[in-house]
């Protein structure tokens, strides 16, 4: 098993945190993982990307030329990166912000209205969770329960009050992904 | 011309000695000037190098993302003083203007704060005076500017401005410490005039 996930979005959208969650959840599920960030020079507002490799063998290169899955959170990320997806890969986009994205033949596209989901939950910091939920269900690399459990472990105790919101966002995203398949 | 961290005064010395008629200034933060570049600033000031130093003091390392600076106040939390700076662990915050005021070399030393319009106007006057001193060949001038760093102080901009006016100026009084030709310009054997303050 080898999954190469590439995530991109605007600074402040929680790209890196969501990526770290996937890495952490992969570790907790007994896989070898790496989380590799590239920062743009701006602390905030610039684009933010990370690559997560999950493998039951060696990780090898922590970078990926053609990721097997992608989570893209804003229009400029969709324009820049969608074309790098591997043949037969899974593309998950935040359809609240991304109106159109070119998809190569043989690739799967799942559109998640993540901002809308977060707004319905009433917690705008759950945008990334809706997308990660969809990624988990869409790839089957990890279960939504795996991810939720690891999130609880990762979060400092004082943030545990947000767990129900996060869990709800994960599940909404996963549900849409399952229906899309 | 980009100097290495803290070495601005040394690089400026080299430039000024080659081109004495050029206006030369350095722009240095508190980590740069008061920590790694302390040796360079003290010796440049002591030599009365005829250039101007603009010294931005916001009591924190901003570029490396919020570590303790030598000017960080007692009790101030930074990423490397996570429980707040204590004198027992890290010593006291350094007052650069007062320190340089012990030297004969400088012609102009002032501390200003970039907070209210009157204070900003006053800062502008001091900067002008420091450059005039350079143009007149009077020697080394430094203007310390107390500035905000909302990001690493964990404050919003208005709170940060108030923090300077309410707290920082207690440790760093606003003052023109010196406004006179460099001591080495005075004829030898002559008594220094009483009161070096302006």
């Amino acid at each position: 098993m080898r999954e190469e996930l590439f995530m991109a979005g605007l600074g402040g959208q929680g790209v890196n945190l969501a990526g770290q969650l996937v890495g952490r959840a992969g570790m907790d599920a007994g896989l070898n993982v790496s989380w590799f960030p590239i920062y743009s020079p701006e602390v905030r507002g610039g684009s933010s990307t990370c690559t997560i490799v999950l493998s039951d063998g060696r990780v090898g290169s922590p970078t990926s030329e053609h990721p097997s899955s992608m989570v893209l959170m804003d229009t400029s990320s969709a324009e820049c990166f969608a074309g790098n997806l591997a043949e037969g890969g899974l593309l998950i986009v935040n359809s609240s912000l991304i109106r159109h994205v070119p998809v190569s033949e043989g690739c799967r596209l799942i559109e998640i209205p993540a901002n809308q989901i977060a707004a319905e939950i009433g917690n705008d910091r759950t945008v990334n969770m809706a997308l990660i939920g969809a990624w988990a269900a869409g790839t089957g690399a990890l279960t939504v329960d795996d991810v939720a459990r690891s999130l609880r472990e990762m979060l400092p105790e004082r943030h545990h009050v947000h767990m129900p919101d996060n869990q709800l966002a994960l599940e909404r995203g996963a549900q849409i992904a399952r229906e899309a398949d | 011309m980009q100097a290495a961290h803290g070495r601005g005064p040394a690089v400026a010395t080299g430039i000024k000695r080659v081109h004495p008629d050029s206006v030369v200034f350095t722009y240095q933060g508190d980590g740069d000037l008061a920590s790694i570049g302390m040796a360079e600033i003290v010796h440049a000031a002591s030599r009365g190098e005829n250039f101007t130093v603009i010294f931005i003091n916001n009591a924190v390392f901003g570029m490396t993302q919020g570590q303790m600076a030598p000017t960080t106040l007692i009790g101030q939390k930074t990423t490397t003083s996570p429980r707040g700076r204590t004198a027992a662990e890290a010593g006291w915050p350094i007052r650069i203007c007062e320190l340089l005021d012990t030297l004969e070399g400088p012609a102009y030393i002032a501390r200003e704060a970039l907070t209210t319009p009157p204070r900003i106007r006053s800062a502008k006057k001091s900067i002008r005076r420091a450059f005039e001193a350079q143009l007149a060949g009077e020697g080394f001038g430094i203007v310390e500017l107390l500035s905000t760093c909302p990001t690493w102080w964990g404050m919003d901009p208005l709170e940060a401005i108030r923090h300077i006016d309410d707290t920082m100026v207690e440790h760093y009084p606003l003052r023109v410490f010196r406004d006179r030709p460099a001591a080495h310009d005075r004829p030898a054997g002559q008594q220094e005039e009483a009161g070096s303050d302006a």
Partner: protein
């Protein structure tokens, strides 16, 4: 003792800092520089509560001299920095080699020369392996290639430094520093009371000769004796601690040589070797001083060609060529400035090298 090791998901910087504490280090002196700031921040957070000392020096020049002082007083001590900061420390490193003192230095290498940038690079290979400041003396240099190895190698570096009374340099880079991976934490070793036979410090009158730590040897023979002792150390280290890992085909046509983050890319290439149609093996040094000369020499008699991959313009390749002594062609794939070759580019270069060496691809 609880031998169950806690597995955590942490950055290379954090793993390095915790590795230092695990290795018994309780004295840390440093100065902020990107991309390794998480290390001093971690030390500031964790050392004081366990009775350790964290001090932010006023410069790297000062930091390394504080390390010098603490080491001469017999403490397990470390500092960490990145390329320009390591350059500033050269004076202090040289004095420590001259005084035959142990210390652990971590360099999270970034782009250069000059101010460069804060992206990944391996361009301090010579700076690390060829000496430390002026004079005859070398840094024992370890080259981890994962977050786990940053942790393990940093922890182990103190034993090596003590065994040879020599500086040990842990050579990381901007990616290893910032990337996160699972890491099994080594239990924290207790601090040893500072009281080494060579160290200065309090002692009863007549208990021992007074120790003098210095690097000034006016007498020619005394100075030469230091140089000879250092060379003997390096010969012993070569026999005792030279380390490397190999991965891939048992009957390779092309041998890849790379260390650190480049070895991760090459590992990826070996995993996809069938795409190149070439039997491929990776040899990655875990120590580059001492250098794994012997295995590289042995492979040079059995493979058609070697390919070195490094994020510098041809530094590490020189040591490979010295080991190979012309027995087979040694080609180089290098990128710099924050750029890295992709695994596909490594494989394309492998095909080219193999074709040049007459391997049917």
């Amino acid at each position: 003792m609880n031998e169950e090791r806690r597995r955590v998901f942490i950055s290379g910087n954090e793993a390095t800092a915790e590795g230092g504490i695990a290795g018994g280090c309780r004295h840390f002196f440093g100065y902020p520089i990107t991309p390794q700031n998480k290390i001093p921040e971690y030390m500031a957070e964790h050392l004081p509560p366990i009775g350790g000392v964290y001090l932010q020096a006023e410069s790297e020049v000062a930091a390394i001299n504080m390390v010098y002082g603490a080491s001469s007083a017999g403490a397990r001590v470390m500092t960490t920095s990145s390329s320009p900061g390591i350059a500033l420390m050269q004076e202090g490193l040289s004095y420590m080699l001259g005084s035959e003192l142990p210390a652990v230095i971590v360099n999270m290498v970034r782009g250069g020369p000059g101010l460069g940038n804060v992206a990944v690079a391996q361009s301090d290979y010579w700076l690390s392996t060829r000496g430390a400041g002026h004079g005859d003396g070398r840094c024992i240099t370890l080259t981890p290639y994962s977050v786990q190895e940053l942790h393990n190698f940093t922890a182990g570096a103190f034993e090596i430094a003590d065994r040879y009374q020599n500086i040990v340099m842990v050579l990381g880079d901007a990616i290893l520093a910032t990337m996160m991976e699972p890491c099994e934490l080594i239990p924290r070793r207790e601090m040893e009371p500072p009281g080494r036979p060579y160290a200065v410090g309090p002692h009863e009158a007549g208990e021992r000769e007074r120790n003098i730590v210095n690097s000034l040897w006016v007498d020619f023979d005394a100075m030469e004796a230091v140089n000879i002792r250092n060379e003997e150390r390096y010969a012993r280290a070569a026999a005792e601690i030279t380390d490397w890992e190999e991965f891939g085909s048992d009957d390779p046509q092309v041998l890849l040589c790379a260390y650190g983050i480049s070895a991760r890319l090459c590992e990826g290439a070996v995993m996809r070797a069938e795409e190149a149609g070439v039997r491929l093996r990776l040899l990655r040094p875990k120590t580059v001083f001492p250098f794994p000369t012997v295995p590289i020499r042995e492979w040079s008699e059995r493979v058609d060609a070697m390919l070195v991959v490094e994020l510098s313009m041809g530094q590490f390749v020189e040591d490979v060529r010295l080991a190979v002594e012309g027995r087979c062609p040694v080609d180089l794939l290098s990128r710099a400035g924050g750029n890295m070759p992709t695994v596909s580019e490594v494989l394309a270069k492998v095909r080219e090298v193999a074709a040049k060496a007459g391997v049917a691809v």
